[in-house]
């Protein structure tokens, strides 16, 4: 049996981050990835001859600066400018939100632009307070440390610093729904729709569901290139960022193995001792870092008799059913969206007419049906990276909401029907687009589950809602990266702070381990 100091299960960006830091600390570290490629949901694969596309992650909007620093991550691929967002509207034309989440807003009245600026400032201020808690291990109830107290105090001070009214308003808004806030501040349906869409993307909530504003806060806690709320499409595609993570792990000296699916976490008397691979090969290590979905780690890989039953039940009850389908199209030519200027096609294009549209798209998902009139965000990756498609051709990537994990009619018949609905919708906004489709890959949540080994097909590895955040992410007893199994740590999006291309779960988990539990 081979042995090493640390095993990281899962070669997504969080696993690579954790592996890089553990290896850099001098530990002999082996990372095991089940598929043939590293990068997880950010990896880029061929969808048709000459066409390549990324997984569910198709934009960079929260790559954490501390991760970049710690890994000395090569972020040259992000050196371009922040992408705008275009919210389409066939009657009024698109509204364009430019810079870091709308430093400049175009296509709306000056009053509306001012109203958006005011709301934006407020949301960023509130998000900045929350951000403090996302960047460190969540406090442990009953074991609150000095550092925790410092953070509480600083958050409190910054809250008060803006005046009593702001503090009061934050407490009022924190658990509200995004629709009421948007209605309160804005009048332009396109801007309201954008907030409603961004707050609920990847979360099983509609804009009118209580607490839906949290999703938007989460989005706004992200920053890239020092710009909070900014979004980027890396040069060379998302895959080039995945490669940067891979290079960092390699540079640090981690052994990276692909096509090495772990089938079991070996343990004795509740202490992790190693892993067994599909071929029967065993690797022993006193430290196992699971950079995979918590359900996969605790329910599929750890032996049922090696962890407490109550804990396992909590893990079973994590809500983790995806709502988003990922569409990748190989197109004969670059699509033209009505009303969008040619140079603005590099934008993130959002199709959501108003709050009601987002809400009504959500309704069927509650009852196991897809949206007959879905909302979506679209990017054209080959615009920024021509290598993703043959000369003259193009790729389109879209996240389409809502596509429930468990479709009542079954995805076998549901998938072609849903694809047709999406293509019809695209045709309305980019006439003739569907006739240029060479190949289409629609990943429903069950497809994402199978392809990226994310139970439920949920890219956050568990709903990002108030009861599954902070000290309850993924559940209380595993919320500080250590788990009830000695020697087993969790370092995936299922851990604090959550999903998205941030690298924070991997970073914080590794730091927690290296500090010996703070």
């Amino acid at each position: 049996m081979t042995s090493c100091d640390a095993i990281v299960i899962g070669g997504g960006h969080n696993g690579l981050t954790a592996a890089a830091l553990l290896a850099a600390s001098g530990r002999k570290t082996i990372l095991l990835e089940a598929s043939a490629h590293l990068g997880g949901a950010a990896r880029t694969e061929e969808i048709a001859p000459g066409f390549r596309a990324s997984g569910p992650a198709h934009l960079v909007n929260r790559l954490d600066p501390s991760v970049i620093r710690a890994l000395k991550l090569d972020t040259a691929c992000l050196s371009g400018k922040a992408l705008p967002t275009a919210i389409l509207d066939l009657a009024w034309g698109p509204a364009l939100v430019r810079g870091a989440y709308g430093e400049v807003v175009e296509g709306v009245t000056p009053e509306e632009a001012r109203a958006f600026a005011a709301l934006r400032e407020k949301l960023f201020f509130q998000a900045s307070l929350l951000k403090r808690f996302l960047a460190r291990t969540p406090p442990r109830l009953g074991k609150t440390s000095l550092g925790d107290m410092k953070d509480f105090a600083l958050a409190g001070l910054s809250l008060i610093s803006q005046g009593r009214e702001e503090a009061r308003d934050m407490l009022r808004m924190l658990l509200m729904n995004v629709a009421d806030i948007a209605d309160e501040y804005l009048s332009d349906d396109r801007l309201k729709a954008l907030l409603a869409f961004d707050a609920t993307l990847g979360i099983h909530l509609g804009p009118r569901s209580p607490t839906s504003l949290l999703g938007l806060y989460y989005r706004l806690t992200g920053e890239t290139n020092g710009l909070p709320g900014a979004q980027y499409l890396p040069r060379g595609g998302i895959g080039s960022l995945a490669r940067a993570f891979e290079d960092a792990a390699r540079r640090a000296g981690a052994g990276l193995r692909t096509e090495a699916p772990v089938t079991r976490i070996l343990s004795r008397q509740g202490r992790a001792e190693g892993v067994e691979l599909a071929g029967g090969e065993r690797i022993s290590a006193p430290l196992i870092v699971a950079a995979i979905h918590p359900k996969a780690a605790f329910l599929s890989l750890a032996a049922p008799g090696e962890m407490d039953a109550g804990f396992r039940k909590q893990i079973r009850n994590i809500r983790s059913r995806g709502n988003v389908a990922k569409l990748d199209l190989a197109l004969r030519e670059m699509p033209r969206f009505t009303g969008v200027k040619p140079e603005d096609h590099e934008a993130r294009i959002v199709i959501a007419r108003n709050i009601r549209h987002v809400e009504e798209a959500f309704n069927p998902a509650k009852y196991g049906a897809y949206s007959p009139d879905p909302v979506m965000e679209i990017t054209l990756p080959s615009l920024s990276d021509p290598s993703l498609a043959p000369q003259g051709a193009a790729t389109l990537s879209a996240l389409v909401q809502y596509a429930p994990y468990e479709l009542k009619e079954g995805w076998e018949t549901g998938k072609p029907a849903f694809l047709k609905i999406i293509l019809d919708c695209l045709d309305r906004h980019a006439p003739g687009l569907s006739s240029t489709v060479i190949a289409a890959r629609l990943l429903t949540p069950p497809d994402i589950e199978a392809e990226y080994r994310m139970p439920g097909g949920h890219w956050h590895h568990g709903e990002l809602q108030v009861d599954q955040l902070l000290i309850n992410r993924p559940v209380d007893r595993a919320s500080s990266y250590a788990t009830p199994m000695e020697g087993l740590y969790l370092a995936s999006a299922g851990a604090h702070p959550g999903g998205g291309l941030s690298g924070l779960p991997g970073l914080l988990a590794a730091r927690h381990i290296l500090s010996g539990g703070r």
């Binding site: 049922p304 109550g310 000695e486």
Partner: protein
């Protein structure tokens, strides 16, 4: 038509006449009951006494008392992973439990707090029965996730009678269950009865020679009649819980939600108990594979997690100390008496008490119990000296002697 529906509904309304469940032995017990003293045991109507508690206690200790244990919860656990599953659930090593053997055990939640205790019967390599006080189906089912086991509730399907006392073996032999004399303590065997099969185990809750007879629901009355006609000349007597309770206190057996609060029932965080805090540390096997609560129990043992201790007390005088507060040197509150009686066998005033450490662990002397004796409308407050003594209070050679002496 409407009339049919009406009478059907009328029939369903009868439940109000029988608000409590009745065990399959109930017709016989009801017929024998002179005192008509009943209590509710897990939803069943159960006798506190049938004639006179003193006489029933005397039967248990001098001839043969019969106690209906049908309301005990019973679960059949079977399947390829049954042993591994139970070894994971229980603190005791189930791999060491032989076929046709029984052992006493307890199980804990994730935090190492005792959920319940009970007896585990092993019928075969992959077949067990768990017999306990509280409902456990949900907990067992939750814990079984990932194990190839089948858990079947058989509380109603299986009826049980405890035959306890020196003549219990003779009664069974007279009833035709020859071979029963060869059963060692915690051993079980199958016997034919009316074309079917019954199980007799040498187990019980009195610390005496005794057996438990397990039959299917339908065979309950016929086994009762068979035993009572066989035991007529050997002092067989149906007993209620009052008499049994005295015997179990003498044997220092604990009762869930009486001597300790079960983890699923407590509301206050400091009321749940580790096995070590209720005298069950000897069940815990840290050397076996992981079991539920192991980490918490071992952490409590290593750190300062154990806060209570269960002790046996001998109290001066003859007034039972049940429910009394225990004081150290008459000043500092040290714990509570969870069960206490005047023991006719030991001729001592005995009590089981839960003390707060260091009382009972490091400080083992100078205890007093404060007894409120209600005498004709007035409390007499008695401060009685109490001494920690070893358990059980009554130790009987005949409990383990095989074959048993013939009385």
């Amino acid at each position: 038509m409407a009339l049919d529906r009406l009478s059907a509904r009328k029939a369903l309304q009868n439940h109000i006449d029988h608000p409590l469940l009745e065990t399959p032995f109930h017709p016989r017990i009801e017929a024998l009951s002179r005192s008509q003293e009943w209590y509710v045991w897990a939803g069943y109507r159960a006798p506190l006494s049938l004639t006179d508690e003193e006489m029933e206690y005397t039967a248990l200790r001098n001839s043969c008392g019969v106690f209906d244990i049908s309301p005990m919860k019973k679960y059949r656990i079977s399947g390829p992973d049954a042993e591994a599953f139970l070894d994971y659930v229980m603190v005791r090593n189930v791999a060491k439990l032989g076929i046709d053997r029984v052992h006493y055990t307890c199980w804990c939640n994730d935090f190492g707090h005792v959920i319940d205790d009970g007896t585990l019967f092993r019928f075969g390599p992959e077949s067990f029965r768990l017999c306990c006080q509280e409902r456990q189906y949900e907990w067992l089912s939750d814990a079984a996730d990932g194990f190839r086991v089948n858990i079947e509730e058989e509380t109603r399907a299986v009826a049980g009678l405890a035959l306890q006392g020196p003549t219990s073996c003779r009664v069974l032999l007279n009833a035709g269950f020859s071979g029963v004399e060869a059963l060692r303590p915690f051993q079980l065997a199958r016997f034919p009865h009316e074309g079917g099969e019954i199980v007799i185990s040498r187990t019980g809750f009195t610390g005496d020679l005794g057996y438990e007879v397990w039959v299917s629901h339908d065979a309950a009355l016929s086994i009762w009649d068979r035993l009572f006609s066989a035991g007529a000349l050997h002092g067989i007597q149906a007993v209620g819980y009052g008499a049994l309770n005295r015997c179990r206190i003498e044997a220092a057996f604990i009762v869930p939600n009486q001597d300790f609060m079960t983890a699923d029932h407590v509301l206050r965080p400091d009321r749940a108990r580790f096995p070590d805090e209720i005298g069950l540390d000897w069940l815990v096997d840290p050397a076996k594979p992981y079991f539920n609560g192991r980490r918490a129990i071992l952490e409590a043992r290593e750190g300062k997690g154990l806060r209570h201790v269960l002790v046996g007390l001998e109290v001066e005088g003859n007034v039972p100390a049940d429910g009394a507060i225990v004081y150290h040197r008459g000043k500092h509150e040290a714990g509570i008496v969870t069960a206490g009686i005047w023991s006719p066998m030991a001729k001592r005033n005995i009590a089981i008490a839960s003390l707060d450490r260091p009382y009972g662990s490091d400080i083992t002397k100078d205890f007093f119990v404060e007894i409120y004796a209600l005498r004709e409308g007035r409390y007499h407050k008695l401060m009685k000296r109490a001494t920690i003594v070893s358990r059980p209070f009554v130790k009987l050679e005949r409990r383990t002697k095989t074959p048993p002496d013939d009385f």
